[in-house]
Every structure is written in C-alpha cells, then in structure tokens.
C-alpha cells in the first residue's frame, strides 16, 4: 500500500509538468488551431528566466577585507552581492534564497511578451497553411530558441536550488498513519504539485467565470460567428497564446529545482507533452490535464523495481506504448471532442 502511494506521489510532479505544458498546447490548438512544436522551448525559456533572475540577484562586487587573509597571505577578497548591500545582508540573502519563487513574478511579463511576439510575428501567418507547415516552422523556431539559450548559458545544466525552507522532505507516511519514513516526499515537489493545481484551476476559472473567457470559449467553438458579432477575436486569441506561453513558462520556472535546466529540456518535455495531448484528446483542456497526471503516475509505476523485473525497459516506453494503444483504439483520445482534427 505504501509503495503504491509513494509511486502516485512520485508521478504527481512529472505529471504536473506534463499537464501544464499539455494545457498550454491545447489552449493554443483549441483557440488558434495551430500545432505548436515550439511549446517545449517556451517551457525551457521559463526555466531560464529563473536562472537569469538568480544570476542577476547574485551579481556581486568585490571588496578587500584587510582583517582577513586567504591561504596565500594576501588580503581576502570578499564578494558581496549588490542586493545585500542595498537591502541589508538579511533581506538580500533572503532574496537570493527565494530567487526561484521570485522568478514567477519576473517571468510572467516576459513569457506573455514572448508569446505575443511569437504569435503576431510568426504564427499569425500560418493559420491558413497546412498542419505540416505549422509543425515545420515551429520546429525550426524551437531549434532557434534552444540554440540561442545554448549560446548564452552554455550546454551544461545549471543548478538552481529551491529556497532553504523547502529543502527537506515531508514524511507523508507519518501524516496519514503509516510508519514514519516509509513515504517521504521532498517539499519542493509538493509545492510544485500545489502550484500546478493552482495554475490549472486558475486557467479553468478564467475561461469559465470571466467575460473574456466566455468570449474565448465562444471563439473556440465558432470563430467566425464571434467575429461577426463585432468582437475582435484575433486579439483575444493572441492574448490566449501569451497566456499559454506564460503557463508553460511558469511550469519551467518551478521545475528548475527539481531538474537543473539545460537547453534541450524543452525538447525532451515537448515530445512527451504531445503524446499527452493526443492521449487526452486534441483540443480538450480537461483531457490534457487528466492525461498529464495519468501518464505521469503511470510512468512512475512503471519504474518500480518489481515492474521492471517483470518487463524490462517498460519504464522507458510506457508512455509511448499507451499513446499508440489509445490512438489505435480511441483515436479521439480520452476526452476528445467530435470533429477536432479528424479526417
């Protein structure tokens, strides 16, 4: 029993990332009808927003401390980050410590901007062209974005730690009545899961309970009619693209402490997220979220020792295998709507 709970928990954080990316992909597909292969790159850019912020906060100047000497006997050079000298040592240190959560604020405007520029500058011109062309041009864009990041940040993963307060692990087993230390779960992964639930809830609430969201949903159902009613639906769809970019970016920001970001993390997640979208059902938002969590949990169950002993290598291929089975037996996906991307 405790092993099962542990695997479910382990699946949740990966599942959260899949769900967030797949949600953004589906938003873009549902509103604009574009298959966005550059969505993984947005996830990666989000992660690098966090890296950038932590680098900015760590910018320091050197002072010579005459009272201390280093091992060669020279006066010791002390590095002081600017934030510490401006806000005092304690506030400054706290700012640096909390750089990842702070990056959420930092990344939202950046990601919105990146998304809007992408949509207006490039994707706009591809609405009328085939899906294959959309795939190809966004694939090219993904390569370009990835290489730009590689140029500025190098090819190695950059560790970006979570705040000290979340460094430990939470003894989940003890909390729900099992023996202590049977189910332990890092705090940050718990935070990531909560965060993704909040974001997903926020996106759904935004679409369901605001006038803007209502118009967007109407536009998803019938773009032309909404346009004829005198609503500038293109503008709203552009904003939705920005929102989808922001969701991917936030998923990336919060993921940095779990896995040190490198320039190809976006591509790694993209392939899986596409599979998630297809399993969930093209164009279905709840489907994308559901499939994201399901596949994440499934993946973590497949990596259990007992399962691997039974079917070697299953953990590597389970997601693809599920996708192939789903596509062949239920081409619309788990919750796909009728008439979306069917031939």
């Amino acid at each position: 029993m405790d092993a099962i709970i542990l695997q479910i928990l382990n699946g949740l954080d990966k599942g959260s990332a899949y769900a967030l990316i797949a949600l953004g992909l589906t938003l873009i597909f549902g509103t604009l009808g574009v298959v966005n292969f550059a969505h993984g790159a947005l996830f990666m850019i989000g992660a690098f927003c966090a890296v950038t912020l932590s680098k900015i906060l760590n910018l320091s100047f050197e002072t010579i401390d005459p009272n201390k000497t280093d091992f060669l006997g020279n006066p010791l050079k002390v590095k002081t980050p600017y934030v510490e000298s401006w806000f005092g040592p304690e506030t400054g240190a706290a700012l640096i410590d909390w750089s990842v959560p702070l990056a959420i604020l930092f990344s939202i405007p950046i990601m919105l901007l990146v998304g809007v520029i992408m949509e207006r500058g490039l994707i706009k011109h591809f609405y009328k062209r085939e899906h294959a062309d959309q795939i190809l041009v966004t694939f090219g864009l993904a390569i370009v974005l990835q290489e730009i990041i590689k140029y500025y940040f190098g090819a190695n993963p950059i560790p970006t730690p979570a705040p000290d307060a979340f460094k430990g692990s939470f003894d989940f087993g003890a909390a729900i009545g099992f023996d202590p230390n049977t189910i332990i779960y890092p705090y940050w992964r718990l935070v990531y899961f909560m965060f993704s639930v909040v974001i997903i809830g926020g996106v759904f609430a935004f679409l369901q309970f605001t006038t803007f969201g209502m118009v967007v949903r109407a536009g998803m159902a019938d773009r032309e009619t909404v346009g004829l009613l005198g609503i500038d639906i293109d503008k709203r769809f552009t904003i939705m693209f920005g929102l989808a970019a922001a969701v991917a970016g936030l998923a990336g920001v919060m993921y940095t402490p779990i896995n040190s970001p490198n320039y190809h993390m976006g591509m790694d997640f993209l392939v899986l997220s596409f599979v998630v979208v297809v399993v969930g059902g093209m164009g279905s938002l709840p489907g994308a979220v559901l499939a994201g969590f399901l596949l994440g949990i499934l993946e973590s169950f497949a990596s259990m020792r007992e399962v691997i002993d039974l079917i070697p290598g299953i953990n590597q291929i389970i997601i693809y295998l599920v996708a192939i089975i789903i596509l062949l037996t239920r081409p619309r996906g788990l919750m796909g709507r009728k008439g979306v991307m069917e031939e």
Binding site: G140, V144, E147, G313, Q316, Y320, I324
Partner: protein
C-alpha cells in the same frame, strides 16, 4: 534511355556526372591555399553527402509524394546500422550481405510500424511515428544493450566469429569492411599542380548505390504507383470515393522509404563499422525532414541538394572561427571589424544549428518549395517568363 523520358534522363545524367566527378568538383581550391578550407572533397564528407542523399531521397518518396510527415524515420537508419554491424560480426567483413540485411531488417520494421501508424493521418501519424522511434531509441539505449551495445554503441571486437572471414587480421587487428577485398577506407590520391584529389573506394561504392537509388526514385515518381501516391496527397477522400483503398499504397511507400533509410544506415555502418542509438533519436529524424524541405519536397533532385547543402555547410560553418572571420573582414576599420565579427560570431562554429534553424524557418516561410523552387524563381527572373517551357533539369513540386 532506361525507360526515362528525355528530361529525366538528362537529370539522371547530371546526377551521375556530379557524383562521379565529385572529388574534382568539391575540391576547387588548391591544397594549402587560404580557401582550401572550403574544399569538401575528402572521403568522409563525400560519403556523408551521398549517404544522407539516399536517406533524403527515401524520405521524399513518403513525404513528398503522399504528404505523410514521418517524424521517426531515423529509427530505420539506426536499425539498418545495427543490422549491418551484426552482419560484420557474424558473417564477415564483406559489405554486400551487410547492406542487404540492413535493407531487409529496416523493411520488416517499416512494415510493422507503417501498418500501425498509417491507420491515422496528419499530425497523428507524425506523433505515432515519433512515438515508435522514441520507443526504439529508449529500448536500444537501455534494455536491448546485449543487441545494440547500449550507450557505447555496437562495435566490432576481435572475438567476433565472422564465419566467412577471419576474426582478426594477420596483424591481430579488427578487419575493415570491404567489397570482395577492396577496402572501403582505401583511397588513391591524385596530385595535379597543387591540387590533391582523393578517390575513395567507399565513396564510389556509396555513390553508385545512390545513383541506383536515385534512378529507382525517378521510376517511382513517374510510375502509375507514384501517380497514385500523389493522388493520396492531393485528396485522399476523393480517392476513396472512386473505390480505391489508399492504405496499401501508403504502406508500400512507407516501406520503400524505410528501406531506403535502412540502406543509408547500412552504408553508414559499412563506412565506419559502428552503430549507436543516437542515430535513432528524433533529432536525427528532424534532420532528414530539414534536408528534404530545404532541398524541395516532392521534387526529384531536391532531397539530394538539401542533404548536400546541410552536410556541406555543417562542415564549413563548424570550421570557421573568430580568427578566420577577422582575416576576412580585415579590410574594414578596426571598430567595425570587431563589430561585424561580434555579430556573426553566434552563427558560426558551434552555432551552426542556430544558422540551420533560422535558414529552415526562412525556407518554410518564404520558399515552401525549397532550393529547387528558389532556383526556378531565379531562372524565371533572369530569363523572363518564357523560360518555363525550356525548363529541363527541374521538376515541378508534386502538388
């Protein structure tokens, strides 16, 4: 000639001449001159030109004719490589059985994967092929290590049985791939007044196979079968309404294209007898898509051009560094020179993929027909509109 019309014959002849004289054509600059770094006439690179040419020709039979965009084609290339290396290990170092096995194994896998994937079309097909390729990559990388060599790749060892040949040479080394005694890596140098031309057995072997592959692809393009594939691309529904089942045709195209990829993989292993899982990764599949699109989808010559273009510039761009740039722009005032070098710097050396990505986007956005369409447009612009009738070497994209 050979069952081709005049236009296709001349196209085939051009390709034959280009490939056979490639050691001369690709070495236009004398050895030791400043421009010698732009020479591409050395065996390793020329082999890559023709092998990726074969790969792209095969991919084009599927994508160019039927419009099915496969994102997992590198899987067949990888399978071909593994098949060939296993043949080297078990049977002997002759390349012919290795290549035959590579094609057969890749074909078998293509039948299975194609049968499943082709039940869907459009983006679903792309994702299914991608899923299969990723699955095979993951398995080759981990669980199938006894067969695939895992992370290190599959290599020849001194203990391999090699039934028809010797396990090791007289000197105690691993034997090299050969064709009835002609070693693939042996080459002859020809020096003419400062120029050095290298003729490599492996290159000519691959080049002959590429010419055959190219001829076959012309025949497929011009056959009733090719016509049927084009019909699938332009309107599959209408084809079904006329009472024809498109699936056998698409499956045949998929298998042929997979066998081409297997052939390329087998050749790759014959030139350098090792095979690694990274050949199957989806970035490798993306590369052949890039080649085909860049050259011109659905045209005969396009994929070959695209493969040559990408491999050539990959090689050249990776070699250029800041010092060379400074030499080139030495005529500019110092400040401006530094600025120009600073601007170009991200695109050269390791930045080649950035250049490639930008180039690829530009082609998809502005020139959907690729280099071939670009050439046609330039020719039109030069000759005026009447030149259309005299068009010989190029074919129209299959729309």
């Amino acid at each position: 000639m050979l069952g081709l019309n005049k236009k296709d014959t001349s196209l085939l002849l051009i390709v034959v001449v280009l490939t056979l004289f490639a050691p001369f054509i690709l070495n236009p600059f004398p050895e030791g001159s400043a421009m010698a770094q732009f020479n591409a006439g050395y065996p390793d690179l020329m082999q890559r030109f023709v092998i990726f040419g074969i790969f792209a020709i095969g991919f084009n039979i599927l994508f160019g004719l039927t419009g099915y965009l496969s994102f997992g084609h590198a899987a067949f290339l990888g399978i071909g490589s593994y098949g060939a290396v296993w043949m080297f290990k078990i049977l002997g170092m002759n390349v012919l059985p290795a290549i035959v096995l590579a094609v057969i194994v890749a074909g078998l896998f293509a039948v299975v994967i194609g049968y499943v994937s082709l039940r869907r079309s459009g983006i679903y097909f792309s994702i299914l092929t991608l899923a299969f390729a990723q699955m095979m990559f993951a398995l080759a990388y981990s669980v199938l290590t006894p067969i695939t060599g895992g992370e290190t790749g599959l290599q020849l060892t001194l203990n391999d049985p090699r039934i028809l040949g010797a396990s090791q040479t007289a000197g105690g080394n691993i034997p090299v791939p050969s064709l009835f005694g002609m070693e693939m890596r042996s080459s002859t140098d020809l020096e003419i007044a400062g120029w050095v031309f290298t003729f490599n057995v492996g290159y000519y072997f691959s080049a002959l196979i590429m010419i055959l592959a190219f001829y076959l692809s012309i025949r497929i393009f011009r056959s009733p079968f090719g016509m049927m594939l084009r019909a699938i691309k332009s309107n599959q529904n209408r084809l079904s309404y006329t009472g024809l089942n498109p699936r056998p045709y698409t499956l045949a195209a998929f298998v042929i294209s997979g066998m081409y990829a297997g052939l390329a993989g087998g050749l790759m292993a014959s030139m350098d007898p090792l095979a690694g899982a990274e050949r199957m990764q989806w970035t490798a599949s993306g590369e052949v898509v890039l080649m085909t699109i860049l050259g011109g989808t659905g045209t005969l010559i396009g994929p070959v051009l695209g493969a040559g273009f990408i491999k050539y510039f990959e090689n050249i761009f990776s070699k250029i560094n800041d010092n060379i740039l400074h030499q080139w722009f030495a005529f500019l005032p110092d400040g401006l020179e530094d600025f120009v070098v600073f601007i170009i710097h991200p695109f050269i050396g390791k930045g080649w993929h950035l250049t490639l990505g930008i180039l690829f986007m530009l082609v998809v956005i502005f020139l959907p027909g690729g280099l071939v369409e670009g050439g046609q447009r330039i020719r039109k612009a030069i000759k005026g509109k009447k030149a259309d009738d005299t068009e010989t070497a190029k074919t129209e994209p299959a729309e």
